[in-house]
Each structure stands twice: as structure tokens, then as C-alpha cells.
């Protein structure tokens, strides 16, 4: 069920975030359905490939999208169970997101562009720290019996990691137009046509997967409302904070790891 919802509604999240940002800035903003339109237009286009590139650049978007699609089948949402459910499925979900990252990074390196190499290099650095944080968060939830303070810590850690993994402010800015400062966007400079549509759709699905996982860990009863709330929150954060300097980013992610670790220590200390 979550899979169906994700496949249909994932691009809506970006629309919600942009609407919230526009509302904060007092603008009308793009339509809620803008990403759907973009995807449709891109799917109808031809493609341009770099002369340097090989089959890696052509295959990577399909692999990445397959990973994100499969990841949606592993996460429950509110009362809707996951399509595939088995113990510790969330570990596979993290593994699939890692594979998606790997495919993006290799596609970026395939073009031989220094900008895309830069983005790839930043992506693996932040990804390594974020993966540790997500694992710790999952472990906290797996130990169970979460008390209120632990839930708060977990929520803070998960939200920071969510911002990093979905390439939002303050970690990455999806609106910037300067290759030197980008992370996610710069890796896909050479993707075009249906490939770019796949990449963008995969990013939207990844956002949906992580948001629904977050809701499932923190407050399962919220269901889809929780996901919308997460998107609104991202919009608020993006309107009210500036981007951090690149050298500061590891500290942000390490603080998320530390929050999750602290939550774990509180759990371990509490008598069962």
C-alpha cells in the first residue's frame, strides 16, 4: 500500500516544500504538481551523453530508481504494512539506498568532469556519516521501549539525517545554480531526458521512503499526515536557515550521530 502511495505521491513532497517556502517568502510559488510536469516533460525528450561516458552513465539512473522503488516496498506507513515484510528489513532498505548512492557517484565519475567528481566526493563523505547515523537510529528503535526523552533525541537525529540524505538546506541547496557549491545536483549535471527523469523521481522516492521510515519509528499512528508534516517542516527549516559551510557539514552529521548515540545510552541505562 505504501508502495502505491509512494509511487503516486512522492513528487508531491517537493511541491509541498516549495509551497511552504513560497508562502514564507510571500510569493505565489510553483504549483504543487510542478515536479510531475517536469518528469513528464523529461520523459518525452531525447538525451545528450558525454563523449567520455560509458554504459555506466546510461545504466546508473535505472539501477538507482529500481533501488528506491524496492525500498518503498520495505517500509510500512501508518496502518499500511510494507509489501515485503521480514525481520530487519530496514537494514536492506539502508543497503538499497547505499546502492543508489553508489550508482549516482559512479555515473558522476563516468563523465570525467571535475565538478561531478567534486560532488561525488562530497556525497560519499556525507553518506558515510549519515549511514552510521541512520543505523544507530534504527538500532535505538529496534531495542524498543522508547521513553519520551529518547523519542525526542531520536526525532532530532532522524530529522537532521533526513535533511542530509535528501540534499536539503542546511546541507545542500537544491536551488543553487553554482556547480562549485552543490552536492546532489552537481552529480547529475550530465544526465538528461528520461535518465534525468529517473534520477529526479528516485530522489523523490528516497525522500518518501525516509520520511515514512521516520514516521514509522517515531509515531506510526500519524501515517500519511506525518509525511506531509515532515515536508512542511523541511520547508520551514529551509525558509528560516542558511546553508552551512561545507567544512561544517561533518559536524552537523556527527551531532546527529551523537544524538542517536545518546538516545541509545539512555535506553541502555534504563532498567528493562
Amino acid at each position: 500500500m505504501n508502495t502505491l502511495a509512494a509511487v503516486l505521491c512522492a513528487p508531491l513532497l517537493a511541491g509541498i516544500i516549495n509551497k511552504v517556502k513560497a508562502w514564507f517568502a510571500g510569493r505565489q510559488g510553483p504549483s504543487l504538481w510542478q515536479l510531475y510536469r517536469d518528469l513528464w516533460r523529461l520523459l518525452g525528450k531525447g538525451a545528450v551523453y558525454s563523449q567520455t561516458s560509458t554504459w555506466v552513465l546510461r545504466l546508473a539512473p535505472s539501477v538507482g530508481l529500481a533501488c528506491c522503488l524496492l525500498a518503498t516496498t520495505l517500509v510500512p506507513l501508518g496502518g499500511w504494512p510494507a509489501l515485503l515484510h521480514f525481520p530487519n528489513a530496514w537494514l536492506l532498505m539502508l543497503g538499497l539506498l547505499a546502492l543508489q548512492r553508489f550508482s549516482l557517484v559512479l555515473a558522476a565519475l563516468d563523465t570525467g568532469s571535475s565538478f561531478e567528481g567534486m560532488g561525488a566526493s562530497r556525497e560519499v563523505q556525507l553518506g558515510a556519516l549519515a549511514e552510521l547515523g541512520l543505523l544507530l537510529c534504527g538500532a535505538v528503535a529496534a531495542r524498543g521501549d522508547l521513553t519520551q526523552p529518547v523519542l525526542l533525541l531520536l526525532a532530532a537525529a532522524l530529522f537532521l539525517l533526513f535533511l542530509a540524505e535528501t540534499a536539503r538546506v542546511p546541507v545542500d541547496d537544491p536551488n543553487t545554480h553554482l556547480e562549485l557549491t552543490m552536492i546532489h545536483e552537481v552529480m547529475v549535471l550530465d544526465a538528461s531526458g528520461p535518465d534525468l527523469a529517473f534520477v529526479l523521481y528516485a530522489a523523490a522516492l528516497k525522500m518518501w521512503v525516509l520520511a515514512s521510515w521516520m514516521v514509522a519509528l517515531l509515531y506510526p499512528a500519524a501515517g500519511p499526515v506525518g509525511i506531509v508534516a515532515v515536508a512542511v517542516l523541511v520547508g520551514v527549516v529551509e525558509s528560516s536557515t542558511a546553508r552551512l559551510r561545507l567544512v561544517r557539514l561533518p559536524q552537523l552529521l556527527l551531532s546527529a550521530v551523537a544524538l542517536a548515540g545518546l538516545g541509545m545510552l539512555l535506553l541502555v541505562e534504563a532498567p528493562r
Partner: protein, 610 residues
């Protein structure tokens, strides 16, 4: 047992004959011998019938017991199988004069170590194996760095053997479980150091990143995929003789394992020699195995089974990667990743197999590297849910960080070497190696895929219960393959009849990008090496840039092994100084030596008469 002994004999005989006029008996004897050993091991694993034999020798020592039990058979199966693949590869790689004698001797003594249950014979075979490997490593001994690496390897392996001697003296003449020995704890710690040296665990790993890069590639593959596992085998064998383990042993393995895993992957990231990266990655993987074994000793049997599975996975994938690195070295004449690039276009088969191996060792689905990582995390979670969660938390933290870092490492290894534009003319001219070298790599890829599919079955055979979600994962893998294929098909369909242009890479409107402007391996890993800079001691030497139009400048960097530079070299220098001081009394005058003897005797007499 007779077929195993015949196999050993054939290996030895082939090796000896290859010293003569013809080379082919070495290959033939090696392949048939290994095939017999492989068959024997497989038979034992399927039937659990343990063949035994006793060899008498004329030394004043008890006869040598040979037994093939489950543990030995598991390692023998992996070693013989990977040995055969490496032999196939070596036949093309070495060209004129393959060193069959030492290759056969190394694998033969290795198999003997696995069978042998008498400590004295074990040590002898162990030493033969180490020496054979030494002669293989120093094959290109006209190069200075090769001699240096060989020397470090020789010193390290003998230091390891020194601790093993102590361990075996305390253990007794037999490597069998008969009651708890008196000094069980001392035996364990000595075994951990001695066997840890062979396995390449931090802090006694220093020989590994020295010896692997300079050895001929099939030899590096054998050492990394097969020989270092013998350290783990030794440790497991000694543990099986020691009875119940106190929790301090489990913790020791956990801590050593985490240090190795993290240290290995970080130092690997900072290297620029492809084979050195792979060597440090072996340190990392041995660390992951040690973490699994540590969890096993602390009461989570799944940990031990996962460790065994990871030994197998790492053996296959690392052999594959070393053979791939060998192909790069053979064809592009360099392992310096800053002089490679764009090899996937030029060496398509090598590139594809290397990509599979890299994705597998980075712990990505759908290969067996992910399966073992998944199970290791599941074991840690089981420990976290228990009443003593600390070991689990420790293991989860280390494995989690290592997973992310190894993704960075292997995206660098594949991305910089095989993608982009070539950074040197020799890389530009490289082509795929001959089929004799490609076939073993393809074979290893297929093995890795088969091992992934068979992992539930293997796990069951290793005595762990399923249900940890492994079957779910495997189903999801199949689905992943289908989905990716379908999406790729959809993409091809969408692009049909539409314009597809080929243009230079987008570089901000600049259309004349050259390979010199590409991102390098060093710059790729710089954010991570800077982040962990306090651990790595990454050294950069760089000329000053002056003026508006700067003239030429230079840049060089190196990441030497921290322990080697800061701990072992000072220690060795101190030892050398001490030895120099002792030379005063060793001057070659016989009369004085007789005087020493006399004085010593008198002293002893006085002491005994006291």
C-alpha cells in the same frame, strides 16, 4: 584420506619437477593436486565423515596426526578452490617462467597446516608456507622497494611464529580439545598475537600493505584471499582446544577487529597505489571477521557463522579484485591510480568484473558482501536487544562506519581507475588481457553470485538458524534485478526514435576539458582523509605559489603507516642500538670467549652450591 595425501604429493611432485627443464608439470601437478584436495574437502563437508591418518617420522617426537574435520574442510575448500583459479591466472600472467615450485609449495604446506594436529609439524609447515610466500613476494628483487617489503614481511612473519612457539609450548603437543589447558589465557593471548600477525590484524598488520603491492598479482591474490585466512584458522583451531571462553577474549577480538576494520579502510582511502588500497582493505575485512568471532565468543553463535561466511566472501571477492588489479598492472603498466582512468572503455571485461567485486566488498546489495554485512548487523542488533547491549553497540557502531567508508573506498577504486579520461598514455593504450587471465575473473564473479544465492544453505551448514530475514533479502535481490532490467528497458523504449547526441562533458561551458582537469583520487578522498586527519598523518609536500603568474610548482603526498613509523621503527632502532652495544663483547677473540664460558660456569657452580 588417501586422496588428500595423493593431492599433497602431486602438488609437491609437480613443484619439484617444474624446477627441471619443463614448466608444465608444475601447473598440472598443482591443478590435479588442488582438485583432489577440493574434492576431499567437499566430501567431508557433505558427509561429515572425518578422514584421519597418522604419519610416523624419525624425529624424537610423537607421530603426526592428520585429521580433516569440518573446520579444516571449510578452509581447505576455499583455499583449494581459490588456489586453482589463481593457478589458471598465473599461467597467463607470468609468461615464460611461472614460479610453480614456490606456488605449489605454498599451497601444499598450507593444506598440510589445515590437516595437521601436532603442534611441531604444524609449526614446520607454517614456516614452509611463510618462506614460500617470501620467495614469491621477492620475485622482482632487483627493485629496492621489493627487497624492503620482503624484508618487512620476513621479520613480521617470524615475530608471529615466535609468539606461536610460546603459544604451542603452553598448549602441549596436540591441537585437540582434551580438557581445559593450564594456562588457557596465556595460550589465547599468544595465539591472538601470533595468528593475528598472519591475518593482518591491527596493530600487527604492518607487513600486509608492504608485501601485497610488490608481489606479483596472482601471488597477492593468493596471499590476500587464501593465506591470511590461515591466521583466522589458527585462531579458531586454538580456541577450539581451549574450552569455554571468558568474556575478555570476546572483547579483545571485538576491539582488535574494530581497530583493524576502521584503520584498514581509512588507510586504504588515503593510498594512491591500487594494490595497496586492496591490501589495506584486507586488513579491514579481517577486522570485520574478528568482530563476528568476538560476538560469537560473547554468546551469539550467529556471529561465528557470519565470520566464516565473510571469510568465504572476502576470499572470493578480494582474489577477484587482485586479479583485476593485476590485469591493470599487466596492461597499463601501472598501479598508481593517478596515472590510470578511462579503463572501462579499453578493458571492458576487466572493468565489469572489477565493478562486481568492488560493489561486493563495499557491502552493497545484491552480492554476498552485503549478505555478510547484513547478518553481522543482525547479530549486533540481537546483542543490543539483550540484557548486555554494549558489545552489540560497539560492533554496530564500527560496522556502520566501516560500511559507509568502504563505499567511498570502492567507488574511488573503481571510479578513478576505470571511469573518466585516461591520465597517462600507457592507460590510453591499455586493452583487455588475454582470455587466460579474463576467464579466472569471470569464474570468480560467477562464484560470488552463486555464493550469494546459496548463502541461506551455507549458513544452515555452518550451524546457524535462519529466519534473520536473509531469505527475504534474497527475494528482494531477485526483484531488484527484475526492476532494474525493466526500467532500463523502458528507458531504451522511450529513447527510441528520439535524438541522442554525444557531446563533451559539461564543464561550465568550457569545452576543452582535459584529463589533467579531472578529479584525482587524492582529491576524491580528501574530505574523508581530512576529517580523520588526526589519525592518518597524511603528509603533503607542496611548493609555494608566488606572484600573479606563478611559475612551476610541485606537489607530493604520502600516507605512511602510522604504527610502522611511530612505533615499530623506533623500537627496531632501539633494538639495533642495543645490539651494537653488545658487539663490544663479541669481538672474535676465542680466548676471551673461553673466559666467558669459564666465568659463567664458575658463576653457575657458585649459585648451585649456595
Amino acid at each position: 584420506m588417501p586422496e588428500l595425501l595423493t593431492g599433497l604429493g602431486l602438488l609437491l611432485l609437480g613443484g619439484l619437477l617444474s624446477l627441471g627443464r619443463w614448466r608444465w608439470p608444475g601447473f598440472l601437478g598443482g591443478m590435479t593436486g588442488l582438485a583432489l584436495l577440493l574434492a576431499g574437502a567437499a566430501q567431508e563437508l557433505l558427509t561429515h565423515h572425518q578422514p584421519r591418518a597418522t604419519l610416523d617420522w624419525t624425529l624424537p617426537a610423537p607421530p603426526v596426526d592428520l585429521v580433516l574435520d569440518d573446520l579444516s574442510a571449510f578452509f581447505l575448500l576455499a583455499s583449494a578452490g581459490l588456489g586453482m583459479v589463481a593457478f589458471l591466472y598465473a599461467r597467463s600472467y607470468f609468461g615464460e617462467r611461472p614460479p610453480w615450485f614456490f606456488l605449489n609449495l605454498m599451497l601444499g604446506s598450507l593444506a598440510f597446516v589445515l590437516l595437521c594436529r601436532s603442534t611441531l609439524a604444524f609449526l614446520i609447515a607454517w614456516e614452509v608456507m611463510a618462506l614460500a610466500a617470501f620467495f614469491l613476494v621477492t620475485r622482482d628483487d632487483e627493485q629496492r622497494e621489493v627487497r624492503r617489503a620482503g624484508w618487512i614481511y620476513l621479520a613480521a612473519t617470524h615475530l608471529g611464529t615466535f609468539f606461536l612457539m610460546g603459544c604451542f609450548v603452553a598448549l602441549g603437543p596436540e591441537l585437540t580439545a582434551n580438557g581445559v589447558p593450564e594456562h588457557a589465557s596465556a595460550v589465547f593471548w599468544l595465539a591472538l598475537i601470533g595468528f593475528g600477525t598472519k591475518a593482518g590484524l591491527v596493530p600487527v598488520h604492518v607487513w600486509l600493505p608492504e608485501a601485497h603491492p610488490v608481489a606479483p598479482s596472482p601471488v597477492s591474490a593468493l596471499m590476500s584471499g587464501v593465506m591470511i585466512n590461515m591466521g583466522l584458522y589458527g585462531l579458531l583451531r586454538v580456541l577450539s582446544c581451549l574450552g569455554p571462553a571468558p568474556s575478555s577474549w570476546g572483547w579483545a577480538l571485538l576491539v582488535v577487529g574494530s581497530l583493524s576494520a576502521l584503520g584498514g579502510v581509512l588507510f586504504a582511502l588515503a593510498q594512491r597505489n591500487l594494490k595497496q588500497m586492496l591490501a589495506y582493505s584486507s586488513v579491514e575485512n579481517m577486522g570485520l571477521v574478528a568482530i563476528g568471532l568476538g560476538l560469537g565468543l560473547l554468546g551469539y553463535p550467529l556471529g561465528t557463522a557470519v565470520a566464516m561466511l565473510h571469510i568465504l566472501a572476502h576470499g572470493v571477492l578480494k582474489t577477484l579484485l587482485f586479479l583485476g588489479a593485476g590485469a591493470v598492472l599487466h596492461q597499463a603498466h601501472t598501479c598508481d591510480i593517478e596515472r590510470t582512468g578511462g579503463l572501462l572503455r579499453r578493458m571492458p571485461v576487466t572493468g565489469l568484473t572489477f565493478l562486481l567485486g568492488a560493489a561486493g566488498l563495499a557491502g552493497l546489495p545484491p552480492l554476498n558482501g552485503f549478505v555478510t554485512e547484513f547478518l553481522l548487523l543482525v547479530t549486533s542488533l540481537e546483542a543490543i536487544r539483550s540484557s548486555a547491549p554494549l558489545p552489540g553497540l560497539f560492533a554496530l557502531g564500527s560496522v556502520g562506519l566501516v560500511a559507509g567508508l568502504s563505499l567511498a573506498l570502492f567507488s574511488k577504486a573503481f571510479g578513478i581507475v576505470f571511469l573518466g579520461e585516461p591520465r597517462s598514455t600507457q592507460a590510453e593504450r591499455a586493452v583487455d588481457p588475454p582470455a587466460g587471465m579474463l576467464a579466472p575473473m569471470v569464474l570468480l564473479c560467477l562464484t560470488a553470485i552463486a555464493l550469494t544465492a546459496a548463502s541461506p544453505w551455507l549458513l544452515e551448514h555452518l550451524g546457524a538458524d535462519l529466519g534473520a530475514g536473509l531469505t527475504g533479502c534474497l527475494q528482494a535481490f531477485a526483484l531488484l534485478g527484475g526492476l532494474a532490467g525493466a526500467l532500463f528497458g523502458l528507458r531504451v523504449l522511450l529513447l527510441q526514435g528520439r535524438p541522442q547526441a554525444s557531446e563533451p562533458t559539461w564543464d561550465c561551458g568550457y569545452r576543452a576539458a582535459t584529463a589533467r582537469m579531472e578529479y584525482t583520487g587524492l582529491s576524491y578522498s580528501q574530505p574523508l582523509t581530512d576529517l580523520f586527519g588526526s589519525l592518518l598523518h597524511h603528509r603533503v609536500r607542496q611548493g609555494r605559489i608566488q606572484g600573479i603568474f606563478p611559475s612551476e610548482t610541485s606537489f607530493s603526498d604520502s600516507t605512511p603507516d602510522l604504527l610502522e613509523d611511530e612505533v615499530y621503527l623506533p623500537l627496531l632502532r632501539a633494538g639495533e642500538r642495543l645490539a651494537h652495544a653488545l658487539r663490544r663483547i663479541q669481538h672474535g677473540r676465542v680466548q676471551a670467549y673461553i673466559l666467558y664460558i669459564l666465568v659463567t660456569l664458575a658463576g653457575l657452580l657458585a649459585w648451585s652450591a649456595r
